[in-house]
């Protein structure tokens, strides 16, 4: 033990004597009993917090449900207007009419299905014509 530690030990011995003189009487403490329940505060906070969280989630869910149910009625006129606007020719900013839209090909890859030469006269058709004469 170092010298410092020995000094501290002596100091603490004095403190211990002082505390012993001022210690409350054991029997008096027993008679008074527990001052008040030292129940953990978490026993109150945790249930209250979980109930509040559940209520918040429920309210949020109710709000979400209400929004989804009201969306089609509110959005319908807007959708119709946007469709009508699409039919009208678009205007450019200086008031001039925009060039008409190019009609879209309903079957852009249809040419891949056509058989080459199917639209021209078949090679044996003149023979058939000659025979018929």
């Amino acid at each position: 033990m170092t010298d410092e530690e020995e000094k501290l030990r002596r100091g603490f011995a004095k403190l211990k004597e002082d505390d012993a003189r001022r210690a409350p009487n054991f029997q008096k403490l027993l008679e008074k009993g527990a001052v008040r329940s030292a129940r953990s505060p978490w026993a109150v906070v945790v249930p209250l917090g979980s109930v509040a969280a559940a209520a918040a989630v429920f309210l949020l869910w109710c709000g979400t449900q209400r929004m989804t149910s009201s969306e089609p009625t509110a959005a319908a006129p807007q959708a119709a207007a946007s469709m009508a606007a699409a039919d009208q020719p678009a205007l450019v900013q200086d008031g001039k009419q925009a060039p008409p839209k190019r009609e879209s090909d309903p079957e852009p890859l249809g040419f891949l299905l056509t058989i080459p030469g199917s639209t021209a006269a078949e090679p044996t058709s003149f023979l058939l014509q000659g025979l018929s004469r």
Binding site: L8, K14, L15, E17, F26
Partner: protein, 167 residues
């Protein structure tokens, strides 16, 4: 253990328990008394039972420490903060003046230390435990207890020197 026997054992440990309660309550004497009341009530009513795995003293010290923590939490939730207590104005009876002044200076310095430092210094110098035994009571590793011990000791000397107290 029968109630009467337990009461006798607690009575023998009373002064040490009070000293430990003071260390756990930042040297607040009223709070330490209330903590001890709760501890005795818990033990004698059977709410906490000593199973004999450790010594009764270690067990009582553990209950004191936990009870002091519970009460601190309650105070936190109620918004009442108890700072480190100043020593009582009423002098202890039949104490030499120099010893009393030293004890009060030491108590003031202890109240300013961190909780862990105060606990380890109390257990080592007040109760005469080794640092290893103190670490068991404090439920920390031996290395952690050593660090708190060294730092607490150094801070203690600085504070006592500032006050001009020689031990």
């Amino acid at each position: 253990m029968e109630r009467e026997q337990l009461e006798r054992e607690l009575s023998q440990l009373h002064e040490s328990s009070y000293g430990w309660a003071l260390a756990c309550c930042a040297r607040d004497r009223d709070e330490a008394s209330d903590v001890l009341k709760d501890v005795y009530f818990k033990m004698l009513s059977g709410r906490v039972r000593w199973d004999g795995r450790s010594t009764l003293k270690t067990f009582v010290f553990g209950v004191v420490r936990l009870t002091a923590m519970e009460r601190r939490r309650w105070r936190f939730f109620r918004g009442r903060v108890v700072t480190g207590a100043e020593p009582d104005d009423v002098p202890a009876p039949s104490a030499p003046l120099v010893d009393r002044q030293t004890a009060e200076a030491l108590a003031r310095a202890l109240a300013k230390l961190s909780e862990r430092q105060r606990e380890v210094l109390h257990l080592v110098f007040y109760e005469g435990l080794s640092i290893a035994e103190a670490s068991v009571v404090m439920k920390v590793s031996l290395g952690t207890a050593r660090v708190h011990y060294e730092r607490g000791k150094a801070e203690m000397f600085v504070m006592l020197q500032k006050e001009g107290v020689t031990l």
